[in-house]
């Protein structure tokens, strides 16, 4: 089963200065600077490291709550 993502990284591109702090703090390599722009993939585990260390208030992590479904029977 593929790992479900637990959070979504909302990046404010007007505030982001591409200082390259958050991609190196991310434990799952979810953030990357591609072509002068910060992008996030779907491996977020909602650890909030990027949000805490961002000096420019550009990142906001939104937790995703998955509803647990148990198979019938």
């Amino acid at each position: 089963m593929a790992r479900q993502r637990k959070g979504e990284v909302a990046i404010n591109h007007n505030y982001c200065k591409r200082c390259n702090i958050c991609p190196q703090f991310c434990p799952t390599k979810n953030l990357e600077i591609v072509g002068g722009k910060l992008v996030s993939y779907d491996r977020c585990i909602a650890c909030f490291a990027c949000e805490r260390y961002c000096p420019d208030l550009a990142i906001e992590v939104v937790k995703i709550y998955h509803v647990e479904t148990t198979p019938a029977g």
Binding site: C19, P55, L57, E60
Partner: protein, 249 residues
């Protein structure tokens, strides 16, 4: 908005983004100060922010509260004046090391002597960053700067001794230890007399690159490996950060 971003109510969002360089630690301190205000549940009308000149001096402009951007080095006298005029206000000084210890060093000395109940948060990036990286009062020995190309020959100012000499609150933290930084600011704001938080922060563009760091992350990792937290001491050593014990004499 998530709970973790509720501190943004203290900031004027139309003034953002901050004018600081990419990777600068000032934003992290600004954020931690707002988080501390949020944790203590401050009323916006009860807090006044005072700042001086320099990179760190720009921080007064972002607060959605009463804030004063004063002359160079004169942040503490203005803060003391505000506190004397209205004792109910919480006065917080946010300024840099050059402003507080270099140009305004005399005012700091006399503010600690009078023990005026204000909180001072010092952004100690060990350089005069805004003017291009000249040697500042907190620059370490043998550090290369623009004005000391063969290394700084003078020893840095011992801030802790100045503050502790008059029995005021002193805490030291870094921008890597953000939880500890927030705790230090909260303790400082709760303190009944003058409180001083010395925050070691990275200046990658004008200091770190010249010293040999590749990017801001490397400087943060240096803080992680170099500084140990020690909250149970009266006098911090050079490689320790912590909240010094304060005894009411």
């Amino acid at each position: 908005m998530e709970d973790t971003m509720r501190f943004k109510r203290f900031l004027k969002e139309e003034n953002l983004p901050t004018p600081w360089c990419p990777g600068c630690g000032n934003g992290q301190i600004l954020k931690s100060a707002c988080q501390a205000f949020e944790e203590l549940n401050f009323d916006k009308r009860q807090v006044v922010i005072v700042s001086g000149i320099g990179c760190a001096g720009r921080s007064a402009g972002f607060f959605d509260m009463d804030s004063v951007h004063t002359a160079h080095g004169r942040a503490i006298p203005v803060a003391e004046g505000i506190k004397t005029a209205n004792e109910n206000l919480k006065v917080v000084v946010l300024s840099g090391d050059g402003d507080l210890l270099g140009i305004g060093g005399n005012h700091l000395l006399h503010a600690t002597r009078r023990n005026t109940p204000i909180s001072i948060i010092c952004y100690s990036n060990e350089i005069y960053g805004m003017t291009g990286g000249q040697v500042s009062p907190t620059t370490r020995l043998n550090t290369k700067t623009v004005t000391t190309p063969e290394g700084n020959k003078d020893c840095p100012v011992n801030v802790q001794a100045i503050i502790k000499a008059h029995n005021c609150f002193y805490a030291r933290s870094t921008t890597f230890h953000l939880a500890h930084l927030k705790k230090s600011i909260i303790e400082a704001l709760r303190h009944p007399g003058l409180s001083f938080v010395d925050v070691i922060c990275q200046c990658i563009v004008n200091n770190g690159r010249r010293v040999g760091f590749k990017d801001a992350f490397e400087m943060l990792m240096y803080y992680k490996n170099n500084y140990k937290i020690n909250d149970n001491t009266e006098l911090l050593k050079e490689n320790e950060i912590g909240i010094t014990r304060w005894t009411s004499a």
